[in-house]
């Protein structure tokens, strides 16, 4: 086979391909054209390539070079056509009209949804409402009476250190000082000051502590606080309520245990653990309301007793969803939040 013959064949394929790709109007005809020219088995370029063996040996490098050039041109023409169709920018207005497919479903607007912490709070509220607790709320900016004094944390107590709290500079530390609440227990005091016993409330909200953020700490986090004050309330009631809460939230077969601990506003105080994968995992603190606290709000500790507990909401949410880093909640990365 003469070189000229081979090259003429190639040129014909190139010209046909250019014309065809230029005129395709939809993806079906584009695909048909691709198979016709670039098909790996039956394509016309492939057919020409097969004739290479018949070209004189001396002419083969020239033939091969030309073949590669034409192949490049055809591929470029295909890509151009594909881009043209893909981008919907057809030169012909008629083509645009034909592209419109009225049977396609409409594009829905992406909906936002509740943050995983908000979802957890809703779940906790439901569980506790089922146990007869009503929801109470309090301010996030607190005075020292509600955040410390009434909770049996006197002025000399190290928990009041300015370095361990977010005091507001407007008021200064000392008399009349204000701070971002470091615990939701403040709401207990506000409720008890306003109403006589019996009290059965929970409060859920943000608290603030100047911790350096790491996988398990964040300077702002959420707590659920529970308080029950009535005559004849005992630690058995506390344990029952927490056990019922744990089985509702974590599963019917979960076990909890109390470990002795210390908080200024409860006596005795306990840490509450639940059993998970052969390990005891702490999920909150609790105890019997200290008589000094009852006295501070004008209750008679000889007449009523009570229990209180506080649980970290992030920790509960992390456990349920196997989240290992608390900071993920507040990065506001939609790709993370979208998963809940």
């Amino acid at each position: 086979m003469a070189l000229g013959e081979f090259l003429a064949e190639l040129d014909k394929v190139a010209a046909d391909a250019a014309a065809t790709f230029e005129s395709v109007l939809d993806s079906d005809s584009l695909e048909a054209a691709r198979v016709e020219f670039l098909g790996a088995k039956q394509g016309r370029l492939k057919a020409v390539q097969k004739q290479m063996g018949q070209v004189d040996k001396a002419d083969r490098p020239a033939a091969g070079k030309r073949l590669n050039a034409v192949k490049g041109q055809v591929e470029a023409a295909f890509e151009q056509a594909r881009d043209r169709l893909g981008a919907g920018k057809s030169n012909s207005p008629k083509a645009g009209a034909e592209q419109f497919d009225p049977t396609l479903p409409g594009r829905s607007i992406r909906q936002g949804h509740l943050h995983p912490i908000t979802q957890t709070i809703e779940t906790l509220k439901e569980i506790m409402a089922g146990l007869g607790f009503s929801i109470a709320e309090g301010p996030e900016i607190e005075d020292e009476w509600h955040n410390f004094e009434a909770l049996n944390i006197p002025l000399v107590h190290p928990a009041r250190d300015p370095l361990d709290n977010f005091y507001l500079s407007v008021a200064g530390v000392g008399k009349g000082a204000l701070l971002l609440r470091s615990q939701t227990s403040t709401v207990q005091i506000r409720i008890m000051e306003k109403m006589p016993p019996p009290v059965r409330i929970i409060t859920l909200g943000r608290v603030y502590r100047p911790d350096t953020a790491d996988a398990t700490h964040y300077p702002m986090f959420h707590q659920m606080e529970g308080l029950l004050v009535d005559s004849h309330v005992t630690m058995a009631d506390l344990k029952s309520v927490l056990r019922m809460f744990a089985t509702s939230y974590l599963g019917a077969d979960v076990h909890i245990r109390f470990r002795p601990s210390f908080f200024p506003f409860t006596e005795p105080s306990v840490e509450v653990d639940y059993h998970w994968n052969d390990q005891w995992i702490e999920f909150g603190g609790a105890g019997m309301v200290d008589p000094n606290v009852l006295q501070a709000v004008g209750y008679d500790p000889e007449q009523v007793t009570g229990f209180a507990f506080g649980l970290g909401i992030e920790r509960l949410c992390m456990r349920r969803h196997n989240i290992t880093d608390i900071r993920e909640f507040y990065r506001n990365d939609v790709r993370f939040l979208h998963q809940f």
């Binding site: 190290p158 470990r259 002795p260 601990s261 210390f262 840490e271």
Partner: protein
């Protein structure tokens, strides 16, 4: 509060498993945080809540163990040798703010030679992660970790006068 397993053995018989000790201490209010091996010893880290300062020393933790296992607590008898000189002639302590400091005790020890601590004492401090300096500094740290009482050694010859004055800071 980090305690040394070998050190606790001075005060109470420990023939049980360290893991069982950790578990029962946790359930008695001294939450077990971690245990690491240091040379031939175990360093057991316990969380001591602010109502239990009595457990900020080995004797206090040993007392908990003695009660939990109903065993005898062997507290060392501080046999104090006394010199012939009257203390009033050697040094004085005055407290100018009794509302902040209700008690300050001092003792003069004469004939001290600064040198390295004995090996057994240095080993115990190392288990707790406390730097070993010399016999005087080390013994103050040792006694603090033994009974929970902080103390400090002053070189009497380097004080401005032979007197310790406890007072509030002065302006300037």
């Amino acid at each position: 509060m980090i305690v040394s397993w070998n050190w606790l053995k001075d005060y109470v018989l420990l023939d049980m498993d360290a893991a069982e000790v950790e578990r029962r201490l946790s359930m008695a209010g001294l939450n077990h945080e971690s245990t690491i091996r240091v040379a031939e010893d175990l360093a057991i880290d316990l969380e001591v809540t602010s109502n239990r300062p009595d457990c900020l020393g080995h004797i206090g933790v040993a007392r908990e163990l003695a009660v939990l296992w109903d065993r005898e607590l062997k507290i060392p008898d501080p046999a104090l040798p006394t010199g012939g000189l009257a203390i009033g002639d050697l040094a004085k302590v005055s407290i100018e703010c009794p509302e902040l400091c209700s008690r300050y005790t001092a003792r003069v020890i004469q004939g001290v030679k600064i040198g390295p601590s004995p090996q057994w004492l240095a080993d115990r401090l190392r288990t707790l992660g406390i730097a070993v300096i010399n016999n005087v500094v080390d013994v103050t740290n040792y006694v603090m970790m033994e009974c929970g009482q902080p103390l400090h050694a002053f070189d009497l010859a380097l004080l401005r006068g032979p007197e310790i004055i406890v007072r509030r800071a002065q302006p300037d």
